[in-house]
């Protein structure tokens, strides 16, 4: 009897497979050797598994092909070529490094498949894509958008908590492309602010930027920079570097005796167990997502639990929910369009409103150059009791900000 049931099941599955149409193929290119790319790819696989479990898209199963770009531009470009010509995918997704993406853009332009990208924040990428690429959707905020969104954030925070002041801003930026782009955008924003314009108009008076060599690139001595910051005595101290800089910089700040009102970090990810360090308490950070968003967003909670169940590890960077969003955004568009033909699908994607696990609803709008930009803002969060709490946007708030930054004494 059991055998018979099994046989019928197997037969049914085979029959279904034969009936089912060819799969919709999504090709992803990410750096698998890096935690950002690895977790983004896993989250994409999770999304695809969920979609297929629910019957696929347009009655067709979805197939995800992931290729490692090894953080090398020519490998990233070759990966796009392979997805286009060998795997014959319908869509490109993926992300991370700006230099890898710059090498991919000419290849993508040749194929002009619908592309949804979750990394590469450099404005140069936007310029390279150009205004005519209507097939190109970019979900991660551009570097200049981030600077503007924080201006909005601090303005709203200063309104909600009148004691918060952000008059004097000191930016410590890593000397590579990532940090320098932040510095350049702050310089531009301050120029605007002095003319009474832009997101920082009412709240930034004075600005100073000093570069440092990131630990990730063989540096890691921040003390000369911190001395300058201490002399400058800012209200808001922001550092734009990598996860490897987070704890050593705090240690050295303690050593130097530098404790500004707000100690803000803006790396793309945080080290493992950062919250357990006594130095972490009260550190403010810029990011797109944190596990505490589960409290205010059902989409985030669902994603978080499903991810842990599937991979037995915690999503550690915001690229995980962003990768999940990447697939679902495309799926929503396909469902709305009822087809994967390019023109109607682009139309449908322009109208998609997807409640993402990032917290916000994802909607497409033009940015400086391209027509299809997704998220424009990051969030302002704070490490409190070992967890990242959202302090802005206020509607997603999970805790009130602690300030001034607790003194170094006793930790």
């Amino acid at each position: 009897m059991k055998k018979a049931i099994l046989l019928t099941l197997v037969l049914a599955v085979v029959a279904m497979m034969a009936v089912a149409a060819t799969p919709i193929k999504i090709g992803a290119v990410v750096p698998l050797g890096d935690i950002t790319g690895d977790q983004a790819a896993k989250a994409m696989r999770l999304a695809v598994a969920e979609i297929n479990a629910a019957g696929g898209l347009l009655g067709r199963p979805v197939e995800l092909i992931v290729i490692d770009d090894e953080l090398k531009p020519e490998k990233g470009a070759a990966a796009i070529e392979k997805l286009a010509t060998v795997d014959k995918v319908d869509f490109f997704v993926g992300g991370m490094g700006s230099s890898v993406h710059l090498a991919q853009i000419p290849v993508m332009k040749r194929y002009q498949k619908i592309t949804i990208w979750i990394g590469a924040a450099s404005y140069l990428c936007e310029n390279a894509v150009g205004p005519d690429a209507d097939w190109y959707f970019h979900l991660h905020p551009w570097d200049y958008q981030q600077g503007a969104s924080y201006g909005l954030g601090w303005t709203e925070l200063a309104e909600a908590y009148p004691e918060i002041r952000t008059d004097r801003i000191f930016l410590a930026y890593e000397e590579g492309g990532f940090g320098t782009a932040s510095h350049e955008s702050y310089v531009a924003l301050q120029r605007l602010a002095q003319q009474g314009e832009g997101a920082w108009a009412a709240i930034m008076n004075d600005y100073m930027g000093v570069s440092f060599k990131s630990a990730a690139l063989g540096g890691g001595d921040y003390r000369a920079m911190l001395q300058q910051a201490k002399t400058y005595n800012p209200d808001l101290f922001i550092w734009a570097g990598y996860d490897a800089d987070a704890l050593p910089m705090l240690q050295q700040a303690k050593e130097v005796g530098f404790a500004p009102e707000f100690f803000v970090g803006a790396p793309p990810g945080w080290p493992a167990h950062f919250g357990d360090s006594p130095l972490a308490e009260g550190v403010t950070l810029y990011g797109m997502w944190a596990p505490t968003i589960n409290k205010v967003s059902p989409a985030a909670e669902h994603f978080y639990n499903a991810y842990i169940e599937m991979f037995k590890e915690e999503p550690a960077t915001y690229f995980a929910p962003l990768g999940y969003t990447n697939i679902y955004f495309l799926a929503e568009g396909i469902k709305a369009a009822g087809t994967i033909d390019k023109a109607p699908l682009i139309n449908a994607l322009e109208k998609v409103e997807y409640a993402s696990p990032i917290g916000e609803v994802l909607k497409i709008a033009p940015s400086n150059v391209i027509k299809h930009q997704g998220f424009t803002a990051q969030k302002i969060l704070q490490w409190q009791g070992g967890e990242q709490q959202v302090i802005w946007p206020l509607e997603l708030k999970t805790a009130d900000p602690t300030f001034p930054f607790p003194s170094w004494e006793g930790r």
Binding site: K213, E255, G269
Partner: protein, 309 residues
């Protein structure tokens, strides 16, 4: 006669001390930071000088052994709660065994094949180490927190960190230890002889392959010391040690082959130079130029003095 040789021997050290004092008066922080970080460069550079000088191996996996040592210290701390500085001892032994094992399995087979094959071999080893660490621990940084690593004191109105003086202490201690080993122990004397003239050493009956094994093992083990003192102050990630390969090569080139004291002097000189540039507002981005500029200048000056370099 004796005073002249004394002057010759300690000329460089005296210059260095004068340099540090002068910088300390001008920019006290630059002098302290430079001394501390420069000593760390030297601590990581000493073992490379040893392998290059005695075994004659261009070890491109130098920095990756350092990273591995750092991860082993981390594992000791996570699993047994051992203080990183205490774990130096077991890590030293473990890395010695590892270094000797790698030597026995691979490097001994390319000793006769020439520098370039050794370069390629160690490049391959470097790649394997780096990627295995990435597979085990991922690229996400880890850390070990100890409260004493960020303590500081204020002397004459200048506040500075105390922990990193351990770099200075350990660099000097390792240097003295190596000097004693090379001059006072039989094995060390044999190593020194092998480094000076391998063929001659073999003729007088020194077991060169054993000497190489020990020296390579010790070199990797010293990286364990560097790892132990680095862990409290560094983020731990797979390529954390990578930059020390090139830095160490630069120190060896600047000091000259076989000159261990020169490594310490060069390391500190470069560290102070870097720190000075970093302390000038707006010019931090040029600090690498100091490192490489000084290096090139020293090599060029030496080549003029001794054209057969």
């Amino acid at each position: 006669m004796e005073s002249i040789s004394f002057w010759k021997k300690y000329k460089n050290i005296l210059f260095l001390i004068l340099l540090i004092v002068a910088v300390a008066i001008w920019k006290p922080h630059a002098a302290i930071y430079g001394l501390q970080r420069g000593s760390l460069y030297a601590l990581a550079g000493l073992p490379l000088s040893l392998t290059l000088g005695i075994v004659g191996i261009m070890n491109l996996s130098h920095g990756d052994f350092l990273s591995l040592g750092i991860y082993i210290v981390y594992m000791f701390s996570v699993n047994t709660g051992m203080d990183p500085l205490v774990s130096i001892l077991p890590v030293f032994i473990l890395l010695f065994l590892l270094g000797a094992g790698v030597y026995k399995l691979t490097i001994t087979k390319v000793l006769k094949a020439g520098h370039l094959n050794q370069l390629l071999l160690t490049f391959g080893i470097s790649m394997i180490l780096l990627e295995v660490m990435n597979l085990i621990w991922t690229s996400r940084p880890r850390s070990v927190y100890v409260d004493y690593a960020s303590s500081s004191v204020t002397v004459a109105g200048v506040r500075f960190g105390t922990y990193e003086f351990l770099y200075v202490v350990f660099a000097i201690a390792v240097l003295i230890g190596l000097q004693l080993f090379l001059k006072k122990t039989r094995l060390g004397q044999a190593s020194f002889a092998v480094g000076q003239n391998p063929r001659g050493a073999k003729i007088v009956g020194i077991n060169t392959s054993f000497v190489y094994l020990i020296v390579f093992g010790i070199s990797v083990a010293i990286l364990g010391i560097a790892a132990g003192v680095m862990v409290p102050r560094f983020a731990i990630f797979p390529s954390v040690g990578s930059s020390y390969t090139m830095k160490s090569f630069c120190l060896v080139a600047m000091a000259g082959l076989g000159n261990l004291t020169g490594i310490l002097i060069s390391g500190i000189a470069l560290g102070v130079g870097e720190a000075i540039v970093q302390s000038i507002p707006g010019y931090a981005g040029w600090s690498d130029i100091v490192f490489f500029g000084v290096l090139i200048a020293v090599i060029m000056i030496r080549s003029i003095r001794r054209p057969s370099l």
